[in-house]
């Protein structure tokens, strides 16, 4: 060390110490302030790409016109002038340009105020009906159990005892989103997308085509997961936690349905919404009714396959083989037309482009630049590859029967059973045969690798074509 420097250094150090301490404090304070500021309570997110085309930028209280909007108005007027052929009219337009610009801006501002006002009404109505993610609230008319919802809602809390709260945000939110719109941060990378609860459309259930699922159905999905998708099994959560999540899914679904209905009412039908309890309950009632009546629409097969009832093993095998053969014919036949989507070999290699309901209208070509702003761009649907032995809605014969009988709500798969306004295409016996055939497909003799062959004489001659 440099002894001659020691005194000097000490002096410098003393001098600098105060300044350093001040800097440290400032930095720590800054970090703390930013940290505390970061913990504001979350809100349900407004995500209605198809109803409200452009939501106001950031602050709904901003009743001003932005420079960008003013520029748009100006460009519109200039475009109008460019299109005008009559020189006199052009002159007139030029003279009134300033006034027209003001009027146009005023018009935009009015629309914007109107939209913001409606959004505020919508928000107030929804908060009144359902509360916030941290403080959920339900009307008794909804038929929901607020205790269960409270267990699932709110910020995630891990406590050392076995009680865990905020389940939705622990297990579900990163895919399904805080408002259940199926657009959490991870969603865009999944195939297929997570379910948007707000549509009220659930695919894998025991009830008729358009009916809501029963609690047991949702619980089943949660317990077993959906094989072949990103939905994992939550079998190992305690039953009460799973039930709480089921209730919360219903809550989000109901809230979403009401939100969409109200938004349509306000923005598409352009009606006024009166913020009274009765009006709100009216909106709620429809959805609540469909949920509470779900159990009445459960599909129960009246028959069961002949081979199930048979007791003699040989007889059982014969009946099963017969049923499979029948199923094979039906699968390829015109009546059931399974091959149209699932392909002649059941690989799900459809020739058509298929989409789910919520993807159908999202044609990027139709929407142009707007498509780039979508959280979830359009995703093509692949029909099931029936040779993998993976069945999304469950692998029991009963599950497969229901899939064929009711079809898949929200997707292009039609039901073969009767539904309101439509005759059944297949009888129950026929459906059971198709089920047997489908269940046999994964085990159908795998294609062995044959030795390489030479080109046959025939094709060598006839092979060449113009």
């Amino acid at each position: 060390m440099c002894p001659s420097d020691a005194g000097e250094r000490r002096r410098v150090a003393l001098e600098g110490r105060r300044r350093r301490a001040a800097t440290c404090c400032a930095l720590l304070w800054l970090a703390a302030a930013a940290g505390c500021g970061g913990l504001s309570a979350p809100q349900f997110r407004l995500n209605m790409e198809d109803i409200i085309r452009e939501t106001p930028d950031k602050d709904p209280d901003e009743f001003r016109i932005t420079g960008r909007e003013r520029e748009q108005v100006r460009q519109g007027l200039l475009e109008e002038m460019r299109r005008e052929k009559d020189p006199q009219k052009i002159e007139q337009l030029e003279a009134n340009f300033g006034a027209a610009l003001d009027a146009g801006t005023e018009e935009v501002l009015k629309l914007k105020r109107d939209k913001i006002k409606k959004l505020k009404i919508l928000n107030t109505a929804l908060v009144a009906l359902f509360g916030t993610p941290d403080e959920p609230y339900v009307f008794p008319e909804s038929g929901l159990d607020i205790k269960k919802i409270r267990l699932a809602a709110g910020p995630a809390q891990t406590v050392n005892s076995n009680v865990r709260r905020g389940l939705y945000r622990q297990h579900c939110v990163h895919c399904h989103g805080i408002s259940g719109d199926g657009a959490g941060p991870t969603a865009v990378f999944l195939n297929p997308y997570p379910r948007d609860y707000r549509q009220g459309k659930f695919k894998f259930k025991s009830t008729e085509f358009a009916a809501k699922p029963t609690d047991a159905d949702l619980l089943h999905t949660l317990t077993e997961g959906i094989p072949g998708t990103a939905m994992p099994s939550f079998k190992l959560l305690p039953l009460d936690e799973r039930e709480a999540l089921v209730e919360y899914v219903k809550y989000l679904s109901m809230r979403g349905e009401v939100e969409l209905a109200m938004a349509r009412y306000l923005f598409v039908d352009e009606e006024d919404l009166e913020l009274s309890r009765s009006t709100l309950v009216e909106f709620l009632a429809e959805s609540a009714e469909s949920w509470s009546s779900a159990a009445e629409h459960v599909v129960r097969p009246q028959t069961q396959p002949a081979h199930v009832a048979a007791t003699d093993p040989a007889e059982k095998a014969r009946l099963l083989a017969e049923s499979i053969e029948r199923g094979r014919k039906l699968f390829a036949g015109e009546k059931a037309a399974c091959v149209k989507c699932h392909g002649p070999t059941g690989l799900g290699d459809s020739e058509d482009k298929l989409y789910d309901d919520w993807n159908k209208d999202k044609d990027p070509e139709k929407f142009g630049a707007e498509a780039a702003t979508w959280v979830l761009p359009r995703q093509q649907l692949r029909p099931r590859n029936l040779r993998l032995g993976i069945y999304r809605g469950g692998r029991r014969p009963l599950d497969l029967f229901r899939r064929i009988y009711t079809g898949i709500y929200g997707g292009p798969m039609p039901g073969a059973g009767p539904s309101p306004g439509r005759e059944a295409t297949l009888s129950e016996e026929e459906i059971w045969s198709v089920v047997d055939y489908i269940r046999s497909l994964p085990y159908e003799g795998q294609v062995a690798v044959p030795p390489p062959r030479q080109l046959t004489q025939r094709s060598r001659q006839s092979g060449s074509l113009p």
């Binding site: 940290g35 970061g38 504001s40 991870t186």
Partner: protein, 606 residues
């Protein structure tokens, strides 16, 4: 402070900035070919990334202590829609990028790039590297890597989230992880650039050390720092191209979709991945063939620097210089045949595992020899507790822990239990943070006077050391206990498992320590920048050290030396009975009549 008549004026170049034309400024400070400037460029770039890597680590710690609770600042910026809580794929990205940044952008370049560049020519008595332009390029090739890695944070899907090891198929199949989109490709490209930079550097270092030593500076008179750098360069030259080849293959797998690492019949994200015949384990072999030697790339130079610092402040020759050199060489040699110990659980043939286990256990030997020698160096000295010395001693202390915990992993049956648990995390951080990073801090405090011609503040240096040391051990020693509990790493929420639920409290303790450790680095940053401009000036050899760099002016001017250095003895002749001083610099000729032989030898070489 009298300094010898300096025949030219470059010595004070750092202070002579004003009124300099832009072109000259660029040539002197930005696109400089001077090894010292390049070294400092590396130093400051890596320190900047050190902050980034540290913040990423703190975010990881937040999630582990307070899972699914609103994260300060970051949560608000990125996840306001999800209640400010980070999402699991973001967490995955956090620890991946923490490791990537720390290893490839901080530790490797700060040792080889910053200290290697700054010290090699000075310590061997050369005026610059053998290829100054190549040297400059080796720094500027890092920039595409920096830029690509930065961009990767902002592409859809975010930065790489396949772990810093980038194991396929997770890193290769596009549907496997949100971030195995563009982020992973950018990650691969960035590492290719890091590889090119390291290759340029290592070839240059080797040539310089082999060919440009001052007269009398035989290989066995090189300071340990230079030995560390030399062997590191050898490791980089021979191991790194294999990683580069593997990275190219991963890149091809990702872009043109060749199938090197993708086996047949995968179904990822509900899509079949059309590929055939590749082997995921192949990547692991190639990756660890580099990355195990890389562990030594990350510590050998620090070991060298610590040897120099300990010897200097114990005022005593380094105990067992040659065994130390042989140990370094032994570590390097064995380092090439132990990579399989990262793959005991990977499905590799268990018989092969047993072989790797034996070689791995044997690599503990040279490390043990080094540790004993450091301790023996302290024995019987006159220890000066300066900041660099404290860091160097804590390096030894922490390296003992890191080294010993390695034996647990080398023992294959124990590894069955502790593989991929926090035991591993504790081990790697004891070696790389408690070891290398403390060595680097020591190095900065030690060579700061040579770099800037000023001293760092000793008091704040010691405060920095004390707090870092306490918080470091609080953070990482506890992780051994987590590991013993089987606590797996890389889980966003380990408390799902009943087995690990009781470990939450300990994780919160670790997080508090980690936050403290992050905060005390502010002291270091302030001390560093304050001292650069306001620290007390010092002379050529403030520590009374022996090696050649202390002959040069502080800071050294262009060309480094104002006198021709000639070396008469090894670098560790402290308290030699031949002289009255307690140090005996390498360049000081022996008094008349003594040591004529070596003198003559030196002349002969000149």
């Amino acid at each position: 402070m009298s300094s010898p008549a300096v025949p030219h004026t470059h010595a004070g170049a750092a202070a002579a900035a004003p009124a300099m034309p832009v072109a000259k400024f660029l040539a002197t400070y930005v696109f400089s070919r001077d090894h010292k400037v390049i070294g400092l460029q590396f130093l400051f770039s890596t320190l900047l990334w050190f902050i980034v890597g540290g913040l990423l680590a703190l975010a990881v710690r937040w999630q582990l202590a307070f899972p699914w609770q609103g994260m300060p600042i970051v949560g608000r910026l990125l996840f306001s829609a999800e209640g400010n809580q980070i999402s699991p794929e973001f967490y995955t990205m956090l620890f991946t990028m923490h490791a990537t940044v720390m290893i490839f952008f901080v530790i490797i370049p700060i040792l080889a790039g910053a200290f290697g560049n700054f010290l090699i020519p000075l310590m061997i008595g050369a005026d610059d590297m053998a290829f100054p332009t190549l040297n400059m390029l080796s720094y500027w090739v890092m920039w595409p890597a920096f830029v690509l890695m930065t961009i990767s944070f902002f592409v859809p899907g975010g930065a790489s989230a396949a772990g810093w090891t980038g194991y396929p198929p997770l890193s290769v199949a596009h549907g496997a992880a949100p971030a195995s989109q563009a982020g992973q490709t950018l990650w691969v490209l960035a590492l290719v650039f890091v590889g090119i930079s390291s290759m340029m550097g290592s070839v240059n270092y080797m040539t310089t050390i082999i060919q440009m030593r001052a007269p009398g500076m035989t290989m066995f008179r090189l300071p340990m720092t230079i030995w560390g750098m030399f062997i590191t360069a050898v490791l980089q030259a021979f191991a790194l191209p294999v990683l580069t080849a593997a990275l190219f293959m991963q890149l091809l797998d990702r872009t043109v979709r060749t199938g090197f690492f993708i086996p047949e019949g995968l179904v990822i994200n509900n899509e079949g991945v059309a590929a055939g015949g590749g082997q995921p384990l192949l990547w692991q072999h190639l990756f660890w063939f580099y990355s195990h030697p890389a562990v030594y790339i990350m510590i050998l130079p620090a070991m060298g620097m610590v040897s120099d610092i300990i010897s200097c402040f114990a005022r005593k020759p380094l105990f067992g210089y040659k065994p130390m050199v042989y140990s370094i060489c032994g570590i390097a040699g064995l380092g090439f045949i132990v990579w399989g110990h990262h793959m005991f659980m990977s499905g590799m043939n268990p018989a092969l595992g047993a072989m790797f286990m034996v070689s791995t256990i044997m690599i503990a030997l040279p490390s043990a020899v080094k540790t004993f020698n450091w301790l023996a160096t302290l024995w019987g000295g006159k220890i000066q507790f300066t900041t660099p010395m404290l860091f160097a001693m804590s390096f030894v202390s922490m390296f003992i822990i890191g080294g010993l915990s390695g034996i647990f992993m080398a023992a294959t049956p124990i590894d069955i239990f502790i593989h991929d648990t926090y035991f591993i995390v504790a081990h790697i951080h004891y070696v790389l943070f408690g070891g290398t990073a403390f060595g680097v801090f020591g190095g900065i405090y030690f060579w700061f006077p040579k770099m800037f011609g000023r001293m760092m503040n000793e008091f704040w240096g010691k405060v920095h050391f004390l707090l870092s040391f306490i918080f470091f051990n609080g953070t990482f020693f506890t992780m051994h206990l987590l590991g013993a509990g089987g606590f797996p790493r890389r889980l966003a929420d380990p408390y799902h498992y009943a087995t690990f639920r009781h470990l939450l409290g300990m994780n919160q303790f670790i997080t508090y320590c980690a936050l403290g450790m992050g905060a005390v680095q502010i002291i270091f940053a302030i001390n560093l920048f304050y001292s650069i401009f306001r620290g007390p000036r010092c002379g050529r050899n403030p520590w009374h050290a022996n090696s050649l760099e202390w002959l040069a002016p502080s800071p050294p001017g262009h060309g480094n030396f104002d006198v021709q250095p000639v070396v008469y003895r090894g670098p560790y002749e402290y308290s030699s009975p031949e002289t009255t001083e307690d140090y005996y610099p390498q360049w000081q000729p022996p008094p008349a009549g003594q040591g004529e032989a070596s003198h003559a030898q030196a002349q002969q070489h000149a």
